[in-house]
């Protein structure tokens, strides 16, 4: 992980019922006022329903200096007025080896009325040219919903955390229908990485595996089981006990020990933002169903 950088301050502008042109103008003003280094590697969108706002902001706080980007936080609002409220800020981070700072632009948009279902019309003018667009959808994606479909036409990669859903990633088959449209990342999948590494070490004994016992979040357990089904090419019975994080994985009664890795929500999202192409192993794990 990169050395933490100190935040040197943020300049910001807030407006109610604004236009995209006003936001663009404010961005230009903020940039023009800053002599700092500005480079970008991606546009990071986040769809953040009200219950996820606090978590999204906390994640973002630890992310900006690692992924110089334009971050656009989309907050759908339960207000009927057709309006766009915005907060634009330039967050700069000092690097001891550089005279200037590295700056990232953060745009918070509150979408009211009809805009809740047409977010792309606001997002498209604000995307950085020629750079990939990542969408972190907080909570269960509204598959087939207008806002979700609208944004899927804009982004290169969808980042979800299937631990945030009741039915997990493969349950309804809706997530797998996205695979042909955009690359998909799942933070829950990343959380299983250390366990997958240890389980894989059991090869070739693993070839005869019948039963997988996981104590942890439903989504992670389902992904581990799906992974084994897809790799072994046959069914694996899953025995699941609910827990906040995986603390037990056993294959045919044999407990697997994995080294503990503490990753913050920012670390986890940061990991996903480093990936660009489709992950066929993940896709197979989601798609593999129990017999």
């Amino acid at each position: 992980m990169a050395e933490p950088l100190s935040t040197t301050g943020a300049e910001e502008w807030t407006g109610q019922d604004v236009t995209v042109a006003q936001i663009e103008w404010q961005l230009r003003e903020l940039r023009a006022d800053s002599m700092d280094l500005r480079t970008n590697v991606l546009t990071h969108l986040a769809w953040v329903p009200p219950t996820w706002q606090k978590a999204a902001r906390e994640t973002l706080a630890g992310l900006a200096e690692r992924h110089p980007s334009r971050t656009i936080l989309l907050f759908p609002q339960d207000e009927e007025r057709d309006a766009l409220d915005a907060e634009v800020s330039l967050q700069c981070f000092a690097r001891p080896e550089l005279e200037g700072h590295i700056c990232s632009e953060v745009i918070e948009l509150r979408l009211c009325g009809g805009l809740r279902s047409a977010p792309a019309s606001v997002v498209l003018p604000l995307l950085l040219p020629d750079l990939p667009v990542f969408l972190r959808w907080r909570g269960r994606p509204d598959f087939g919903g207008r806002a979700f479909e609208d944004l899927m036409d804009v982004v290169d990669r969808l980042v979800v955390d299937s631990r945030e859903w009741e039915d997990g990633p493969g349950g309804s088959g809706e997530l797998e229908r996205c695979f042909e449209r955009v690359a998909v990342s799942d933070i829950a999948w990343t959380c299983t990485l250390r366990w997958r590494r240890e389980v894989a070490k059991l090869w070739p004994e693993l070839a005869g595996l019948r039963n997988l016992h996981v104590r942890g979040p439903r989504a992670e357990a389902a992904l581990l089981a799906g992974w084994l089904r897809a790799r072994l090419g046959r069914d694996v019975e899953l025995q699941h006990e609910e827990a906040k994080a995986i603390d037990l994985v056993a294959v045919d009664g044999r407990e697997v020990v994995a080294r503990e890795e503490r990753m913050s929500s920012s670390d986890l999202l940061s990991h996903e933002l480093d990936r660009f192409s489709r992950d066929p192993v993940y896709e197979a794990a989601v798609t593999a169903k129990p017999a």
Binding site: T39, D274, F276
Partner: protein, 476 residues
């Protein structure tokens, strides 16, 4: 003396007087100098000055300075006239002579024809027949210059009856934009780009002139013009010419324009797509479809979008397509020339999912500047490669505001430098391509309009234009 015909129009208020004011602020107007406005609207000189003062306060890029305005206002005059009327023209000629005496402008005239296309030929004749025998005379003609090759040729013939080519300044305000001129600097002042600027290293070029605006009350004009005549014929093809032209031997007007004409002559239309917008969200606001705009025929078949694949049949560009597009009510306001280079010949890096082709993008507007997408190693133990953008922003590098295109162009015309104006043969080459496009459209029949939603990047057929070549439009 600057003589503006059509002085009561929007162009004079929004662009010409704000530009004159900016030149006055910087002491760039010649001495002596005067402006004579003329239009059908009955108005006194005082009323005209008041109107222009408001326009300057509203649209000028500089802070309003009363002392600067007073000086410009004192040199500003107005004569109402009917252009087709000999008496009206005589009245203007008489006023010009008076002003020559009062202001010492010595018979030097820059005529700015900010009038509808239908009025241009008559005005040229009226002006030409009354050319002053002393001083110089120049003519600025606004676009659209004709509506097809035949009418453009006829207009050129009419103009040549009274004016020499070096006295004619056919304006395409895009050429006055700093970033468009920077294309010449980028290409010909840097040793690193020109060797790469050819079919050997360039995969293709994309030029986008995208607007989020609709027709803004100009239904009468737009219904007749459409995107092909409004933007494609002039702005887009000029950008193609500047991107593709050979290096001129110097920066003389004819040297530059010779090269532009050569490349336009080598340009052929391979395929084109047209579109018309339906309703949708643009910049977060719901907007009506084109056919629902005020003054537009509800069954209109006017195109609000054009995309084309152009081939440039010369040594430098053979087999390297130029994809161009323009439209109204698109997803974002953007004018960009994007030169996409060939990928590295051998995929050396396994972890290069994030590596995109190198793109040199010249951002004409907004965010004026240049960006170059390059692959770099992601810090860490592995060898992961991804694309980052190196950005040069005019606003960040130079702490002065960019001049408006009209400032540069008016000043060049006052100085007699036509480099940034379009020559007769350029205009005719541009219309040749548009005529070819219209001929094909007539054969194909009108698509099922509307065929794209406002706030999107245009019709699906435009995407297919690139997809069948294994490419895609830059969408963000």
């Amino acid at each position: 003396m600057l003589v503006i015909f059509g002085a009561s129009g929007d162009l004079t208020r929004r662009k010409l007087f704000p530009a004159l004011y900016a030149l006055a602020v910087r002491h760039l107007l010649p001495e002596p100098f005067a402006v004579l406005g003329s239009a059908r609207s009955p108005m006194s000189t005082d009323e005209f000055r008041k109107d222009m003062e408001e326009a300057v306060k509203q649209y000028a890029r500089d802070e309003f300075k009363p002392e600067v305005w007073e000086e410009l206002a004192s040199a500003t005059f107005y004569v109402p006239t009917e252009f087709e009327n000999d008496q009206g023209e005589n009245r203007i000629a008489q006023k010009l002579e008076e002003l020559d005496q009062e202001r010492g402008t010595q018979g030097n005239r820059l005529y700015y024809l900010a009038v509808p296309p239908s009025a241009i030929a008559t005005l040229v004749r009226e002006i030409g027949e009354r050319r002053s025998t002393s001083g110089w005379a120049r003519l600025i003609v606004e676009k659209p210059f004709g509506r097809d090759l035949k009418s453009a040729r006829a207009l050129n013939r009419e103009i040549r009856e009274y004016f020499r080519e070096r006295e004619v300044f056919r304006i395409d305000h895009y050429l006055g934009k700093e970033t468009v001129q920077n294309m010449l600097a980028l290409r010909f002042a840097n040793g690193i780009f020109e060797p790469l600027w050819s079919r050997q290293y360039v995969d293709h070029v994309q030029i986008t002139v995208a607007e989020t605006l609709g027709i803004e009350g100009r239904a009468g004009f737009y219904e007749q013009a459409g995107a092909s005549r409004d933007i494609f014929q002039n702005h887009l093809l000029q950008l193609v010419a500047l991107t593709a032209m050979e290096p001129p031997i110097d920066f003389d007007a004819d040297a530059v324009r010779n090269e532009k004409v050569k490349v336009l002559r080598a340009t052929e239309l391979e395929a084109s797509v047209r579109g018309q917008y339906g309703p949708g969200y643009v910049d977060g606001k719901w907007v009506p479809g084109y056919r629902d705009e005020e003054g537009v025929d509800p069954e209109s078949t006017t195109e609000t979008y054009v995309a084309a694949k152009l081939r440039i049949e010369n040594w430098r560009w053979a087999d390297t397509p130029f994809y161009v597009r323009t439209g109204k009510r698109l997803a974002r306001r953007e004018t960009t020339i994007a030169v996409q280079f060939e990928r590295a010949p051998h995929p050396l890096f396994v972890h290069a999912d994030g590596l995109r082709p190198n793109v040199l993008a010249i951002h004409v507007q907004p965010d004026e500047g240049v960006s170059l997408g390059i692959g770099v190693k992601v810090p860490g133990q592995g060898m992961t490669v991804r694309t980052v953008n190196m950005d040069f922003l005019y606003g960040g590098a130079f702490r002065t505001g960019l001049p408006e295109a009209y400032e540069r162009l008016i000043l060049d015309a006052l100085r007699g430098d036509p480099t940034l104006f379009t020559r007769a043969d350029e205009i005719e080459e541009q219309w040749r391509l548009v005529d070819e496009m219209h001929r094909r459209w007539a054969r194909e029949g009108t698509p099922d309009f509307p065929n794209y939603d406002a706030g999107t990047w245009g019709p699906e057929a435009a995407d297919e234009l690139l997809i069948r070549d294994g490419r895609r439009w830059r969408s963000h």
